[in-house]
Amino acid sequence: MVNSSPQSKPTDEELMDAYVDGDEAAFRLLFERYAPILLRLTRRHLRDEELAEEIVQQTFFRLHGARNDFQRGSKLRPWIMTIAMNLVREHWRRSKRRKMTSLETETQAAQEADFMPLELRQRSELLHVALEKLPTSQREVVELHWFQERPYAEVAEIVGTSEGAVRVRAHRAYATLKQLLVLEIRGDE
């Protein structure tokens, strides 16, 4: 699904160019555009609201620091996604919390989803657990390819590997996820 924006709206790259030229309002608009996307991404990966917010802020803080590296004509989205994914990856490496399912964060996630039907929440929980069982390299690909709907070439650019390797990771990730969820899916049918 590719978002088609009205013609009047400036593109991300136009906003970034304006920001590099000193337009503070353009930075605000970029934040409004990308913060919700990044929040979803980081919440899915970290399941910790405070940490998710911190990483989104840190992503923009780094974007601000790196703004003079932005070259006219290049795409902004892979930039932002790469910075965010680097931060998430670094967080996992530092905290080694990958296999830890904190009761506290689960409660937090559940609180946010209180308005959702119980069955949907349970299914989501199952999927969250399944996603957490994937290696980080595969999870990143699922995140970017499925949730963010980025083409393989762009995913490869963001994670720093070849398109072929990304396809293999995606194939393995979807096969593993399917295997993990097969009982739940069958049960639903």
């Binding site: 929040l39 490496r93 989803a113 989501s124 969250h128 949730f147 996820l177």
Partner: protein, 240 residues
């Protein structure tokens, strides 16, 4: 594997969509608060030397580092006496070239742009190990004249002086590399290795005290102390 197999099937796709729908995007209030906090952090950073250096383009940051390194090297080269002609062997030259190349690689790693995928940790660890190895190997390559005086008692005494000088020389290199680092993983350890290399470079070029034991105690120890010391700080003092 077909290209179609890269996409989840309908059942799995539906679950993924459900999960995505469950994630509530940030509301206006939250976004406002987050932006205000982040903007305040950016403004604070812009008013510091660190923020100023980090926000330069990657090319500018690399030129700044190269400029400072070159200036220090030129001033040091001419201001202080080099080792005598006899000590300027092939091994001596090879050691200096190796230290310079490793220092350059460390500089490139530390100033890597953040919008590129982070380097794997093993590459940083490799560089640190090679830097330590090079410092130790260089200590076993003293000149012929130096070998003759290996047992000289002054060698061990002077080792403390060399170590102190090496550590002092390495501190500005470490500080500069930390200032231009935009937050690369393990950037602190790579900068520590670079500081050790810089200290070893200067000591190798100028120290005329002969002997392997002196070089091990006074020169190679600089790199080891930087890496181990700052590694421990990095390990036990959590970064923000």
């Amino acid at each position: 594997m077909t290209s179609g197999s890269n996409r989840p099937d309908a059942g799995l796709g539906e679950r993924l969509r459900e999960l995505d729908a469950l994630e509530t995007p940030g509301n206006g209030e939250l976004i406002d608060r987050m932006f205000a906090e982040m903007k305040a952090r950016c403004d604070r950073s812009d008013h510091s030397i660190r923020g100023f250096l980090r926000s330069r383009s990657t090319l500018a940051r690399r030129l700044i580092v190269l400029g400072v390194f070159s200036m220090l090297a030129i001033v040091g080269w001419f201001a202080f006496p080099l080792v005598d002609d006899q000590a300027r062997t092939m091994q001596w030259t090879a050691s200096l070239v190796t230290f310079s190349v490793l220092l350059l690689i460390a500089m490139f790693m530390v100033t890597r742009p953040v919008h590129l995928p982070a380097l794997p940790h093993w590459q940083s660890v490799c560089l640190v190990c090679i830097a330590l190895g090079a410092s130790v190997v260089a200590a076993f390559w003293p000149s012929g004249a130096a070998e003759a005086a290996t047992q000289a008692p002054t060698g061990s005494i002077m080792a403390g002086v060399c170590m102190g000088a090496g550590l002092l020389l390495g501190i500005p290199v470490y500080a500069l590399l930390r200032l231009v680092d935009r937050g690369n993983a393990l950037g602190s350890i790579v900068a520590a290795a670079a500081a050790g290399l810089a200290g070893n470079f200067v000591l190798k070029a100028h120290c005329s005290v002969p002997g392997t034991s002196h070089e091990l105690l006074g020169h190679a120890s600089v790199a080891v102390l930087f890496v181990v010391g700052l590694g421990l700080v990095h390990r036990f003092v959590p970064g923000k």
